[in-house]
């Protein structure tokens, strides 16, 4: 198929393998080894997108990840990934790409009217325009701005792909595989150090892959690259990661890499992740990120067909693509000349080399002359013509006055430009290093290292092939020695050619045009012009940080790698301050845009968070039980039967427990075994209650406060032996109670001979509650007497259940006769199924957390975190009985003495009974004194728990109410949208106030 701009030979593409792809539906062809950008250029397609603000036609500008214009969407699996840089998208057969930010088509875009209206859109336009009327912001401005903003369309479906993660450690991590990076890798690897070499491109080699005019060890640089990569690949201590971007440099030499695993494949194995996040801890880091070329800031420098000179050379030498048939080269430095020579050698017509400098090196002028290329020194481009592709350039001759005189125009179908080179200091900057101004290089280069890293080669402002290799070897050797103490000798390769050029320019170029009418772009992606930067300064911005935010220059995805230096120079000129006084903005993670999927990794679906299940889980699922999440746990909520709704199921479960017997899974409660001679002393200090006199075999309810005196947790604690307690905590509080105890043990009382061990997962716990509980468990328990006399309420014994050792507690969270049986988790299923079978014989039923909540509320048992909120004291909760009055100290004791905790008017836990027994209050509803308080009246408190109580055949509620204990019998109100609900303040115990049902 015709690829009119493909060279006849050369390049690293596989000419034998032709690939078909589409761009905006048009079928095109390229070769294996192409990027989408190089394939488009081979087909003569330069127009690939519309700019962000003015919707100007834009073409491919670069050949790297800094590309600001060629942002495309790529379809895969019937969904679209937006904003991929065409320069990084590797071509595969069947690739479908679309352009963005255009409507209805790339060629005709209605948004382009913005370009004509551009005088209305100066920098700071939004700030100036949308300030009034204020009310318009929410309803008018913001929706419209949001609709117009953004590039590309977000994908519609959940991500089809998976994302991998790998933690890795190495001695030397090298980011970048150009001459310096490869040399560093060879030198470091030779010492035996563990080396990771990564490069964002598909192939290692960086600039060497486009270098055809130099040699290394007498060979083509690409041949040397192949040798080096093969050598590294054969070494066990080296990990090679192509297509891998070092995008984040964090503290302690922790570097994040994004490896694109399958993005380049036409039909990837679905078992492979799309990308992999490497989280690397490197002893030493070598930053060999190279340098990127700067655009020249002249009017209309953004037309399709205008590229950076080195990009033009890369497309030619690496991809076998001529960017045009009639190419004009505009430059301020030597390196662009080689692009002109290479193009001429491949048969392209180079219509001229326009050099800003009065006297470019004579050697270059001589080579140009030999090829018959017209050279204009002391000359600039002052404008370009052509809409969807550059047609011609206007030339201007620099005069000694500093003015520019028209130099006519010159026809071309491509324009290559070079304003010089900017070292890529992003990773260095991310490592918290500060850059310093290198006047000789005309660039900011890495200053003092803050972390264990070193920059090498062009990233360090060092150019020229020989120097880059030598610097790379030294960096690799040095890094390996610093990391491992080892060194090794390695033969250094010799080069010829590839000399460092000189020259370069910063800022806007002079021209003879009407400055107010032309646009010379500084930041392509954000459509910021030289004019905008000057305007920002005129309007009072002085710091580069303010200029950046006001104009948005440097705020695009390249973070200003292309634009910062030019913007800085323009600001410096406008401010009449030296460039170094204007400052440079900080580069941040990520180096290039990184997918959300990479960060989410495995945290999605079933693995978003651990899902903890109890041994009865499968039984509950089979029974049709519904579950609720309690922290990471799945707890059975209720078990509907015969089409019951939740209300009916919960009511039945509650009645069954009170009438016969219920079975409940209490495995999720936290369990801590406290062991040691000082176990009782330790609990005495942790909990409000006294423990020393609790006899082995007995249990007590424990209340845990924080230092401030507020309730934080509770649970029943059984004494198994003089020096051994079985502590239970709430489900949600298990981890924090354990951590708090360990904290006190290690920091406050290291002298105590006591140790705590979490046994939450050691035991499965079945609670059997109800009048028939004893009958239900009796057949399975051996070794102890279950009678009320031998085993009274609040006792604990070690026994066996079906022959398996168990800890049997006689305790109750329902107000009924109750037992909680702890067996090893492994036997939990057996225990549950045994008991589930047995209760059926007694007319019993399994019940879930909802019925448990109702049953405990009927008894006024609080739930931490529901009836307490971190500001409730034992007094507030009516639980002063739980405080050991004679104890010298416990956690929170001093807190309880604070004046505000002893003051009047504290909110206290009370019961509420609605006047109408059928009305159920909303949990969280406010409680007031007046039936219809004026708006703004503070509430007296709020409802914490509210249920229909089957045992009382009416609704009940618990609430926290100011001075609640003194209000018993009084009427308060719960105002609701449908009207205020009168409620009577009651005690917190609604059912079996004497506790007769417990002691049977």
């Amino acid at each position: 198929m015709s690829q009119p701009f493909r060279t006849e030979k050369g390049g690293r593409i596989d000419r034998a393998e032709e690939l078909t792809f589409t761009f905006d539906g048009e079928e095109l062809h390229g070769h294996a080894g192409d990027t989408l950008a190089s394939a488009l250029l081979a087909n003569g397609v330069h127009l690939v997108g519309r700019s962000f603000k003015y919707h100007r036609p834009r073409g491919i500008l670069t050949a790297g990840s800094e590309e600001p214009n060629a942002l495309v969407g790529v379809y895969r699996k019937s969904d679209q990934t937006p904003n991929l840089r065409a320069t990084q998208v590797e071509l595969y057969d069947g690739l479908q790409a679309i352009s963005q930010n255009r409507f209805p088509s790339l060629g005709f875009d209605v948004g382009a009217v913005n370009d004509l209206l551009s005088p209305l859109f100066p920098a700071g336009f939004y700030y100036k325009t949308f300030m009034w009327p204020k009310s318009f912001w929410d309803r008018v401005y913001e929706p419209i701005i949001r609709a117009a903003a953004g590039l590309g369309k977000p994908p519609k479906n959940p991500d089809h792909d998976t994302y991998g993660n790998l933690y890795a450690h190495c001695d030397v991590l090298i980011a970048g595989s150009g001459p310096s990076g490869l040399a560093a890798a060879l030198a470091a690897a030779e010492t035996g150090a563990k080396v990771i070499l990564c490069d964002e491109q598909a192939e290692f080699g960086g600039s060497l892959l486009s270098e055809t005019s130099a040699t290394i060890d007498g060979k083509d640089p690409a041949v040397w690259v192949a040798y080096a990569v093969a050598r590294l690949g054969a070494m066990d201590n080296v990990t090679l990661l192509p297509r891998t971007t070092a995008f984040g440099y964090f503290a302690h030499n922790f570097v994040a890499l994004a490896e694109r695993v399958t993005e380049h494949l036409a039909d990837p194995d679905p078992r492979l992740p799309r990308e992999r996040l490497w989280q690397v801890r490197a002893k030493e880091v070598v930053i060999a990120a190279g340098a990127i070329e700067r655009p020249m800031v002249f009017p209309e420098n953004d037309r399709p067909g205008i590229l950076l000179a080195d990009a033009g050379r890369t497309y030619l030498n690496r991809y076998g693509v001529k960017v045009g048939h009639k190419v004009l080269v505009a430059t301020a430095c030597d390196t662009a000349w080689q692009a002109a020579f290479d193009l001429a050698d491949h048969g392209a017509e180079v219509v001229g080399i326009i050099d800003l400098r009065e006297s470019p090196p004579e050697s270059l002028v001589a080579i140009a002359a030999a090829r018959g290329i017209r050279v204009e020194a002391g000359c600039v481009v002052t404008g370009t013509l052509g809409r969807k592709r550059v047609k011609a350039a206007l030339l201007g001759r620099l005069m000694t006055s500093g003015q520019v005189a028209s130099g006519g125009q010159i026809e071309c179908d491509a324009l290559l430009m070079s304003g010089g080179w900017t070292p890529t200091v992003s990773l260095f900057s991310q490592s918290r290093g500060k850059v310093v101004w290198d006047a000789e290089a005309g660039a900011f280069v890495p200053g003092k290292s803050v972390q264990k890293e070193r920059s090498t080669g062009a990233a360090n402002g060092l150019y020229g092939l020989e120097a880059s290799l030598a610097d790379g070897y030294a960096a690799g050797e040095g890094a390996a020695r610093a990391a491992t103490g080892k060194s090794a000798a390695i033969a250094h390769s010799r080069t010829s050619g590839g000399e460092a050029g000189s020259g370069g320019t910063l800022g806007a170029l002079p021209h003879d045009r009407n400055a107010s009418r032309v646009k010379a772009f500084v930041d392509y992606q954000n459509d910021v012009t030289a004019k905008d930067v000057k305007l920002a300064v005129r309007e009072g911005m002085q710091s580069i940080e303010h200029i950046k935010r006001y104009t948005t220059t440097g705020m695009a995805t390249d973070q200003g790698r292309l634009s910062n230096m030019n913007a800085l120079q323009i600001a410096s000129g406008a401010l009449e301050k030296p460039l170094t006084d204007v400052g440079l903005t900080t580069f941040r993670q990520p180096f290039t845009p990184t997918t959300f999927g990479l960060f989410a990794g495995i945290s999605r679906g079933d693995f978003f968070d651990p899902v903890r299940k109890t041994p009865s889980h499968d039984w509950a699922v089979a029974k049709g039980g519904l579950f609720e999440d309690v922290g990471q746990w799945k707890r059975a909520w209720y078990f509907p039967e015969n089409g019951e709704d939740m209300h009916a199921a919960v009511e039945r479960e509650c009645r069954t427990v009170r009438k016969s017997v219920g079975l409940f899974d209490a495995s999720t409660l936290g369990k801590i075994e406290v062991v040691g001679p000082d176990a009782a002393e330790f609990l005495e200090r942790m909990y409000t209650n006294p423990w020393k006199k609790l006899a082995p075999g007995r249990c007590r309810y424990g209340l845990l406060l924080n230092d401030a005196g507020y309730i934080t947790d509770d649970g029943v604690i059984g004494r198994l032996a003089d020096d051994r307690f079985h502590v239970t905590t709430t489900t949600g509080g298990a981890a924090s109670v354990f951590a708090t105890m360990e904290d006190y043990l290690q920091t406050e009382w290291p002298d105590l001979d006591v140790w705590i061990t979490s046994t939450t997962d050691q035991y499965a716990v079945a609670a059997v509650q109800g009048p028939k509980a004893r009958e239900v468990i009796a057949p399975f328990i051996e070794g102890i007497d279950l009678s009320a006399e031998a085993l009274p309420h609040m006792s604990v014994r070690e026994a066996t259940f079906c022959g398996v050792p168990c800890r049997l507690f006689r305790i109750s969270f329902t107000g009924e006769l109750g037992f909680e049986i702890n067996v090893s988790r492994r036997h939990g299923k057996m225990m549950w199924e045994t008991l589930a079978g047995e209760i059926e014989k007694h007319g019993g039923a399994a019940y879930g957390t909802e019925a448990m909540h109702v049953l405990r509320a009927e008894k006024g048992y609080i739930i931490i975190g529901q009836d307490t909120d971190g500001t409730v004291t034992p007094q507030d909760a009516g639980m002063t009985w739980a405080i050991g009055k004679k104890k010298p100290d416990f956690v929170g004791k001093r807190g309880l003495e604070r004046p505000d905790l002893k003051a009047e008017n504290r909110k206290q836990l009370v019961g509420l009974l609605t006047r109408d027994p059928k009305i159920k209050l909303e949990e969280g509803a406010q409680v007031t004194i007046l039936e219809n308080p004026a708006t703004g009246t503070p509430a007296e408190g709020h409802v914490t728990s509210s249920y229909f109580s089957p045992a009382l055949d009416r609704t009940i509620a618990l609430a926290i109410v100011k001075n609640g204990h003194a209000l018993e019998g009084k009427t308060l109100y719960v105002p609701m949208p449908e009207g205020s609900i009168p409620v009577e303040v009651a005690g917190t115990v609604f059912y079996d106030k004497e506790g007769a049902r417990l002691n049977v």
Binding site: L166, S603, P610, G676, W755, R825
Partner: protein, 191 residues
Amino acid sequence: MSDLLASDLVTPDAGEAPLLGLASVSILKVAPLTRFSFRARTASVKKAGAAVGIPLPIKPLTSETATKRAALWMGPDEWTLLAPEEDLQAVVTGIGSKLGSEPHALVDVSDRSEAVIVTGEKAAWLLNTGIFVDLSQEAFPVGTVTRTVFHKAPVMIWRIGPDAFVVEAWGSFMDYVAGLLIQCAQELEAA
């Protein structure tokens, strides 16, 4: 470290099919065994070792193994003791009689954890998909043991061979740990 390292103690559960069986890595459920958390002050460590029949390691992150016994360092005053299932009472009695009234804590945590053996040339790679510890043999030689996290779950890992690890997690976390290990290994099956 001896060759018989834990091999007679931590064994695949014969009754369970392998959770994963690839050429480069497999995951096998470990048969039940006795586990204790043992806590004591330094003065009692030697005696405790004699009682268990194996010196308790005092070098951080190391383990000691003997026939049917293993002791894993968990902290400066904390060890995990492993023994065959049927030896539970023997360990309790042994330590009880040797230490007598010397302060210590011995807690049965046999069923708190479940364990899998991850073995194969890709074993360390697979663990490193979710564990940030350097598992190279230089940094984490055979016998090394540590508590850490695998993605979002707390786990204990113990290297019992150059390409073999025991991964323990609390029972209720094992679905997550084993499930993710299997998911993360999926790509190894790709061509």
